[in-house]
């Protein structure tokens, strides 16, 4: 029994160790990169569900399988989540011990001075004409800002052991912790955020963020039920789109006004110029200009002489020319009997072209340009029962085809109309294409966590910069009285250096440092001897990787990566 518990705990410990090792992190990083690829190569629901349907139609055998396995919604798929959750756990398991280790190191003193400094990758030696204490004092002075420890050895020998660059590991920890903060911020945004789109006519129409039903489409976060939307209203006064002669969009600008807070319900409005790249930020939400289109205005004169005017948005079928389609629906005026009304409802459907162009027959309407230069419509007029009383919702852009199939809604005219032209139905009803209005579609986005994501991102960057720029490095000084009298000076000074991180590039700094340390009160007569500055890789271009290799391992072992521990030379 006891041995089973021991075995189980050993198993858990090993699993944990395995999961939090650098190698696992590496494999998980790869898996993450690999798993994201189908999200690029295959169409995704979140980006374009039409393309997904197209793909599935073309690949009827594997399409449904890919769909079931989540390949069309990769970034919400459980296997994708599994990878980053494992990475997360690995990261936590890796960070905690490293943080503890780092805090310990902050209080630790630099290590002992190695016996043989000449075996370090950086080394210099010289005899000087100052005494030992003077050299040590000067060395302390020069190494201000380094963490130092002064030591003594038999025979009047004194040493300084100094280390610098602790911030590198701090930067690394900040980087990894901030990555986690960033992911948490992202997740919170997905929980409490929302995003909705709505079309508003650019004729002074108002729109308020007061409920889900005010939107044409709405994507709530997991905890959003639509009851607590940020209250604000916008009014769209006018819209201007400018296109280059090539048809390429040049500028979009909507003059809008908004109100929030105490202004709500009053007639105090704040003007704003809404543009692409210039969202309105109000009441913690953002309002974006997403698109625009046209609403042809029709005037219907009924047989009894009454007129009705309507302009309903039609939707663009082509973003390049803004050829649009839609359905403008009318109830006969003054008819109270529902049965009677259902015989005389009207729908004007068809195409709208902002700049009319016709094919060679002169009949088929297309659009040559997205701006309103020469507007025209090609309409089919239906009369009968639109099905609006049936209770089931219908699209504002089309009529209910079932009514047509059932014979309850009949086509009574088909004609092309230019601006101001009119057609007459068999019962004497006249329909005039009277003008063009504009609409814009706006998006409202809400994500209170995004500012935290930004903060985390800045920290990620700062941490990464620090951990890549700062070098963890050491320098040792051994100062001994010159017993043998060699070289003429009174004191022999030896300097050794070691960079503990991957970066090459300690050589130059060490060169300067050694120069200063050795220059301390050199006697005028003593021949200056710099012995074997054999490994100044920056200068000689030789290979630094050898000795650094060891130091890297050491550091990593200390960092808790779970590798073989090796002591500093």
């Amino acid at each position: 029994m006891r041995s089973q518990i021991a075995a189980a705990s050993a198993f858990l410990r090993n699993t944990w160790r395995g999961l939090t090792s650098m190698r696992t992190a590496l494999v998980l990083l790869f898996l993450l990169a690999l798993a994201a690829l189908p999200g690029v190569l295959l169409p995704q629901y979140s980006l374009n569900s039409g393309k997904v349907a197209e793909y599935k139609a073309e690949h009827s055998t594997i399409g449904p399988w890919l769909d079931k396995l989540g390949f069309f919604n990769v970034f919400a798929a459980p296997w994708f989540a599994a990878i980053y959750l494992l990475l997360f756990i690995s990261l936590i398991g890796c960070l905690l011990p490293r943080t503890v280790e780092y805090l310990r190191q902050l209080r630790a003193r630099p290590g002992l001075t190695p016996r043989n400094l000449s075996r370090l990758p950086h080394h210099a030696e010289r005899t000087v004409d100052a005494d030992v204490d003077e050299v040590v004092a000067a060395g302390r002075q020069r190494l201000r800002g380094w963490r130092k420890e002064i030591g003594e050895e038999p025979g009047g020998v004194r040493t300084i052991s100094a280390e610098r660059g602790y911030l590198r590991e701090a930067g690394n920890l900040v980087f990894h912790f901030s990555m986690m903060l960033l992911l948490v911020g992202l997740a919170v945004g997905k929980l409490v955020g929302y995003e909705g789109q709505v079309i508003v006519r650019a004729d002074g129409s108002q729109w308020c963020n007061s409920g889900l039903f005010n939107y044409d489409s709405f994507r709530p976060g997991l905890t959003v039920d639509g009851t607590n939307l940020s209250p604000f209203c916008v009014r769209v006064d006018s819209f201007r789109a400018n296109y280059l002669p090539s048809g390429q969009a040049d500028t979009f600008h909507a003059d809008i006004a908004y109100q929030a807070g105490d202004d709500l319900g009053t007639d105090r409005w704040n003007p704003y110029g809404l543009e692409v790249n210039e969202p309105l930020r109000v009441a913690g939400d953002r309002v974006y200009l997403l698109g625009h289109g046209y609403a042809p205005r029709f005037v219907v004169t009924f047989p009894d002489g009454q007129t009705r005017t309507q302009a309903i948005q039609w939707r663009p079928t082509s973003t390049a020319t803004l050829l649009s389609e839609g359905a403008t629906k009318f109830d006969p005026p003054g008819v109270t009997d529902p049965a009677e009304r259902r015989k005389h409802q009207l729908a004007i459907t068809g195409l709208f072209a902002p700049t009319a162009a016709y094919d060679h027959t002169g009949k088929i309407l297309t659009s040559a340009f997205p701006m309103v230069n020469n507007p025209a419509v090609a309409v089919d007029v239906y009369r009968g029962d639109l099905g609006t009383d049936s209770g089931s919702p219908q699209s504002i852009f089309s009529i209910d085809e079932r009514m047509v199939r059932d014979g309850r809604l009949n086509k009574v005219a088909r004609q092309n109309l230019e601006l101001g032209q009119e057609l007459t139905l068999d019962d004497g009803t006249r329909i005039r294409f009277d003008g063009v209005e504009q609409w814009i579609s706006i998006q409202v986005s809400h994500d209170p966590a995004q500012v935290w994501v930004l903060v985390a991102a800045v920290l990620v960057l700062a941490g990464l910069g620090a951990s890549l720029v700062i070098k963890r490095r050491r320098v040792w000084l051994r100062v001994r009285p010159n017993g043998a009298g060699e070289g003429g000076g009174r004191t022999v000074v030896e300097v050794g250096g070691l960079a503990r991180t991957d970066q090459a590039g300690y050589g130059e700094e060490f060169g300067r440092l050694a120069g200063d340390l050795l220059a301390a009160r050199t006697s005028g007569t003593a021949p200056n001897k710099i012995v074997a500055d054999r490994a100044d890789p920056e200068r000689t271009g030789s290979d630094e990787a050898g000795p650094d290799e060891t130091s890297n391992k050491t550091q990593r072992a200390a960092a808790g990566g779970g590798h073989d521990r090796q002591d500093v030379p």
Partner: protein, 319 residues
């Protein structure tokens, strides 16, 4: 903003000339490599005689100044030509910018051209610090191919940009991406050649000819590491700037748009590269492979994502 077509013609001319000059420079470097082996040996003898340490990548500056061997002169001419090409290349982008009155990276053609210029400049800077001239031909080859494709298949007339690109973030985000992508292209070439050299060092009969002419594997490793370490923070910044821009332009800071996603994938690969250098058993060959994969992801992002998938990135549509 009207387009100055004279300037844009000069820009095109500079571009074509720059490619031609790069090709010449590449040929000179190749010639140096082809004839250079014996020269290296001779230099080493000279060095030893002068009391130096015979290192394969030891620069010969100041040691054998007189009577410089022909291959070395060819190599140096290659470098000079590369500098000239870079100047013209820069001029072509600057003229585009002047012709259109905006930063010259508003479409695929301009973007790739700018990335290649970034790579050439990174290469020239590296060349001042490390003696890796033997790599010249290998660095220039992919750049010439990229520039050729950009100038033919992806060429776009000078013109204004769509509203979504009218933002100062175009300057910030894209310049960071341009520089970091250019620099990692150099890193990728270095890692690729590291793989060749490491195999050659392990067994001199593999890649016998090529291997013997490359700088030492460690020098290549260091070059790859240095360039990647420079590029990664910049790439991180570029992706973040892109997210900030996307928040203003598209209504969300992250939406798994294909281009965003591939940029993130490359970033993760470069993070894996740094990790692999810190992982026992992964240093050396495996790390180099990771960097090569990163290189592939970068090129993939340049071309494939723009051409095959259509995301929100406005210059995804070519032309």
């Amino acid at each position: 903003m009207s387009i100055n077509s004279t300037l844009s013609q000069y820009s095109d001319l500079s571009y074509t000339t720059a490619i031609a000059i790069y090709v010449f420079a590449m040929l000179l470097h190749a010639a140096e490599n082809a004839f250079g082996r014996r020269a290296v040996q001779r230099e080493q003898k000279a060095l030893v005689a002068a009391g130096g340490v015979p290192l394969a990548e030891q620069p010969s500056r100041g040691v054998v100044d007189t009577g410089r061997a022909l291959p070395e002169r060819l190599g140096r001419m290659g470098v000079s030509l590369t500098v000239l090409g870079a100047a013209l290349h820069f001029a072509s982008l600057a003229l585009r910018g002047l012709a259109t009155g905006r930063v010259p990276w508003g479409n695929m053609y301009e973007y790739i051209s700018a990335v290649c210029l970034g790579a050439v400049i990174a290469w020239l800077v590296m060349l001042r610090r490390h003696s890796v001239r033997q790599l010249g031909a290998f660095v220039l080859l992919p750049l010439v191919v990229l520039m050729f494709l950009a100038g033919t298949v992806l060429y776009a007339q000078a013109g204004p940009v769509v509203p979504a690109l009218k933002s100062y973030w175009l300057v910030i985000h894209v310049s960071a991406m341009v520089i970091s992508s250019g620099v990692v292209l150099v890193a990728g070439v270095a890692s690729l050649l590291y793989l060749v050299k490491a195999r050659h060092e392990a067994n001199p009969s593999t890649f016998a000819k090529l291997g013997s002419r490359l700088p030492a594997a460690d020098a290549l490793d260091r070059l790859a590491y240095r360039t990647t370490v420079f590029a990664l923070p910049l790439m991180t910044f570029g992706i973040m700037a892109g997210a900030i821009w996307a928040e203003a332009a598209w209504g969300r800071y992250w939406g798994w748009d294909p281009k965003e996603t591939v940029a993130l994938v490359s970033w993760v690969i470069y993070a894996a590269y740094l990790h692999s250098r810190a992982t026992a058993g992964w240093r050396g060959n495996r790390a180099a492979w990771v960097n090569v994969v990163g290189f592939a992801a970068t090129v993939f992002n340049l071309f494939f994502v723009n051409l095959v998938t259509t995301g929100l990135h406005s210059y995804a549509g070519v032309g």
